[in-house]
């Protein structure tokens, strides 16, 4: 049993990397989702075209390829990233593209009458969006954002391909060193599930807090 403590320690080190990737990747994804999602609704054609190109490209190509580009190809253009940076970049941009469609859909789901009330109250575009539309849209986005964050968590395993020692990578190391498959992979199964549950729980709590008193949108 004693030897396993060390191996479990290895996997827990990997878990920290996975958590880091998930957190930083989600922050980048969230930022990209809002920038691209709102740009798709912009009055300006250029903004819409750029956002659409980004979204279609990152949804239409595989996360593997995106990661390999971030890590192996960008250096040819003078941008050398650490494995962690490359992982965060690929995951954030990829999930951000899906998130952008969520933002767009949620903003569009807020009724026309809310925009009209804003005009009648003489709010400008920015005030309407920031004070009236987005707070309502946020509630619509949250559940899907929670799913996206879990997808991102699961996708972090791909970074083991660029030799970043995340949880999956460490499990493979332990398996190679001990010849035992069950223990390391059962361990990471439980850890991934625990992390995903933590995300679900957090998002649901946030949803409940935001929905307080706000019937008709979602409770």
């Amino acid at each position: 049993m004693g030897q396993w403590t060390g191996y479990i320690g290895l996997i827990l080190d990997g878990a920290l990397v996975t958590i880091q990737l998930t957190l930083m990747g989600s922050i980048l994804a969230l930022a990209m989702a809002f920038v691209a999602g709102l740009a798709r609704l912009s009055r300006f054609v250029a903004a819409r075209v750029l956002a659409t190109a980004y979204i279609e490209f990152f949804r239409g190509t595989s996360i593997f390829v995106q990661l390999f580009w971030a890590y192996f190809v960008l250096p040819f253009f003078g941008i050398a990233l650490s494995p962690l940076q490359a992982g965060i970049l690929a995951l954030g941009l990829n999930v951000g593209a899906y998130g952008a469609e969520v933002v767009r859909g949620a903003v569009q789901s807020v009724g026309r009458e809310q925009y009209e009330a804003c005009i009648a109250l003489n709010l400008n575009r920015w005030q309407s969006m920031y004070r009236v539309i987005l707070p309502q849209a946020l509630l619509v986005m949250l559940p899907t954002f929670g799913n996206n964050a879990i997808e991102l968590l699961k996708a972090t395993a791909v970074v083991s391909l660029i030799s970043l020692s995340d949880m999956t990578f460490q499990a493979q190391v332990v398996r190679a060193q001990t010849g035992n498959t069950l223990v390391p992979f059962a361990t990471i199964l439980i850890l991934y599930f625990a992390m995903a549950s933590a995300i679900s729980y957090g998002v649901r709590g946030l949803e409940r807090r935001m929905a307080r008193g706000l019937d008709g949108v979602r409770t």
Binding site: E116, A120, L121, L139, L214
Partner: protein, 261 residues
């Protein structure tokens, strides 16, 4: 005679192929209470929405408080209004909607305070005390901390009236503000409007199917059909002695439907 508060001059409005307003022309005097009545689909809502700049016009001119609404003068010519000009014009006009359109994610008080704080840079304290005064006037002060979802339709509408008043508009537009309400509670909203008419010199345009209310409330009534004014006059003339066949038919139908005139 003072210069009009609203001048509508040969305004045309189409949705696609369908022409809603044809060469519509009328004026509204400052402080006048004007009721717009007519069958559904005759373009009454469209007129209010155009005045609130929620719809554009296809032809004609509109002046509000002496300034062009949809145009602005530039080097002696009239050019289409830009956002900045519309912003100035919207400050003069408030609108109350049939379905209230309150902001569901804010308390009643925040609903009323928001626009003055954002568009007039009113300080929080001043905005709050003014909002409380207005809520008091509409009988909703005790619900200031409630969320809109906790209110009845009639309460929501009274909050919506307070919210529109918070910007101190010169003109108020009411679009069938009681038609989505429980018939027993309609009076509560109508009482607020009576009080408003008695205590302020705001110009008010009222689209309504409450003929009894229109009769007491309005200085003048316009009867619309097919995007045109068919008949206009003092409430007594329109409701007691309508001259036009179409006005008579409309009023007969309204009475048959159980509305009191």
């Amino acid at each position: 005679m003072p210069s009009p508060m609203i001048e509508i001059d040969k305004v045309c409005k189409s949705f696609g192929e369908f022409q809603v307003l044809r060469d519509l022309t009328f004026t509204v005097a400052p402080g006048e209470k004007l009721a717009l009545i007519g069958p559904s689909g005759s373009g009454k809502t469209t007129i209010l929405r155009i005045l609130m700049t929620l719809e554009t016009i296809n032809a004609g001119h509109i002046k509000v408080d002496g300034d062009h609404l949809w145009h602005k003068p530039a080097n002696g010519n009239l050019v289409p209004a830009d956002e900045a000009h519309l912003h100035l014009m919207r400050a003069k006009i408030g609108m109350v909607f049939q379905l209230f359109n309150l902001f569901p994610h804010m308390t009643v008080l925040r609903n009323v305070m928001l626009a003055p704080m954002l568009t007039k840079r009113t300080g929080r304290k001043d905005a709050q005390s003014r909002a409380m005064d207005l809520l008091d006037m509409v009988g909703m002060a005790d619900k200031a901390t409630s969320m809109p979802a906790q209110l009845s339709g009639c309460q929501k509408q009274r909050v919506a009236i307070a919210r529109a008043l918070a910007l101190s508009p010169k003109i108020m537009l009411f679009d069938e503000v009681t038609s989505a309400l429980d018939p027993e509670l309609v009076e509560e909203v109508l009482n607020v409007m009576r009080k408003l008419a008695a205590e302020t010199d705001m110009t008010m345009l009222l689209v309504t199917h409450e003929m009894g209310f229109a009769h007491d409330f309005a200085d003048r009534v316009l009867f619309f059909d097919g995007g045109k004014i068919v008949e206009e006059g003092k409430p007594d003339e329109i409701f007691r002695h309508p001259k036009q066949e179409r006005t008579q038919a409309f009023l007969r139908k309204i009475i048959a439907a159980g509305h009191r005139v």
